[in-house]
Amino acid sequence: MTVAGSVSHIEEPVDRPAIPAADATEEKPLLSASGVSKFYGSRIGCEDVSIDIWPGEVLAVVGESGSGKTTLLNCISTRLMPTTGTVTYRMRDGQTRDLYRMGEAERRFLMRTDWGFVHQNPADGLRMTVSAGANVGERLMATGARHYGDIRATAGDWLGRVEIAEDRIDDQPRAFSGGMRQRLQIARNLVTGPRLVFMDEPTGGLDVSVQARLLDLLRGLVTDLGLAVVVVTHDLAVARLLSHRMVVMKDGRVIETGLTDRVLDDPRAPYTQLLVSSILQA
């Protein structure tokens, strides 16, 4: 039960207990990018981007193709070394580490356990020639799970959560539809209980009905698990539905940030106004 509706209690002398440690860490970003630039020769991928990602929040990075949003995603997820700038991450033990000063092994372990990465094309994130169950179980084994029965049970449970029928557990994703493959990729990423998930156009290339189902599923999982998510999308409706905050990019630079509904309902930058005014009303 939360504090009762009366506002008069606010006037009482403030004699609060110290903020517990768990809350204190909530006041620090999970991931912090500072001055991140990536140049491809003389061409700009992204330039001087600073963003924070907080626990439990969904941050949408929007912009048209070529705006640098995927470059940024890759730079902050250690998939692409930035030319300049730093990216720090608060580990489970509370220590904040510079991602590009970690060893390769440590970085890979982070990606396999504490992070997820959902690709636009499920084939990039799945192993197409092993079973659905193994695709999910494989990630679990990377975190040390060894008991076959447990792994299979957990994998089956996760297939259920992403609405894949239990009797498909031994089928290969090659035999799945696009929507099912994408849901399988999500299960594979979430099974290890990551704290941060990167998504690159997760609903791109899917039929609208399949998109709606996937969005609803993602929305539910994100809320239930308290995940932090960075989702790159060119679809403002997806951003509206999924994200709390939004970053608008153009020509490699961040041109507007803010609360998602604020950016969409009261866009300030000329380019954001153009984007918002270009949405088709269904």
């Binding site: 606010i10 009261d266 153009l274």
Partner: protein
């Protein structure tokens, strides 16, 4: 009694960059406060900026200049300058909002739509859904609709889902943007009673009501928004 919300010197304009940067002033020097246990009503003709004021108070519209001071979790916060994360916390804990239209999410049931603000505050989902069901029953929303997504509901049905969603929490401040526009007389009376209960609980309400009878029934104070009309540029 504490004053939960003070608006001071707030101005708002839109700059239309796609129309050659033309600046459209909306409101200027907005100044008022609302009190706990009272319902204040923004009045004035359409287009005078009533909804824009509510949207600024909810952090949905940016503020050009001025302050929006609220009491949030025991501290004083200027919503006009607040970080997005602070605005999110304010929406979770301090300011509730019943919008004019429901933005329906595909596949989410009416019960879950209405229960969501409670769930976000940590109430378990069964309890939250029971509270939502109680409100639906009170608002005479047919029970066969409760488990369906509201996208296909009529305007009045959607509005009742929206009202339940806004009234389900015990936020100390509640903003109402034409909550009864599509309701029949019987359901309007239910909303009047619900507003009365919020007042009794010490909630500060601020609303827009075009229906004169309804305004009469709930308003403790009228704030005339025409007084905040932008001065014509010389």
């Amino acid at each position: 009694m504490a004053v939960p919300l003070i608006v001071s010197g707030v101005s708002k304009s839109f700059t239309m960059h796609l129309r050659g940067g033309v600046r459209i002033p909306v409101v200027d020097a907005v100044h008022f406060s609302i009190e706990a246990g009272q319902c204040a009503v923004l009045s004035g003709p359409s287009g005078v900026g009533k909804s824009s004021i509510l949207k600024m108070l909810y952090g949905n519209y940016a503020v050009d200049v001025g302050q929006i001071l609220i009491r949030h979790n025991g501290t004083l916060l200027d919503l006009a300058q607040a970080e997005p994360r602070q605005v999110m916390a304010v929406r979770r804990d301090t300011i509730g909002y019943v919008s004019q239209f429901l933005r329906a999410v595909p596949r989410v049931s009416a019960l879950d739509v209405a229960a969501e603000p409670l769930v976000q505050r940590g109430t378990d989902s069964d309890t939250a859904r029971r509270r939502a069901a109680d409100l639906f029953a009170r608002l005479n929303l047919p029970e066969k609709l409760w488990e369906l997504p509201p996208a296909t509901f009529s305007g009045g049905e959607q509005q009742r889902v929206n009202i339940a969603r806004g009234f389900i929490t015990d936020h100390p401040i509640l903003l109402l943007d034409e909550p009864t526009a599509s309701l029949d007389a019987a359901n309007r009376a239910v909303v009047v009673a619900m507003i009365g209960e919020k007042k009794a609980d010490g909630v500060a309400l601020l609303g827009i009501f075009h229906d004169a009878d309804l305004r009469e029934a709930v308003a403790d104070r009228i704030i005339d928004v025409t007084g905040f009309a932008p001065k014509k540029a010389a």
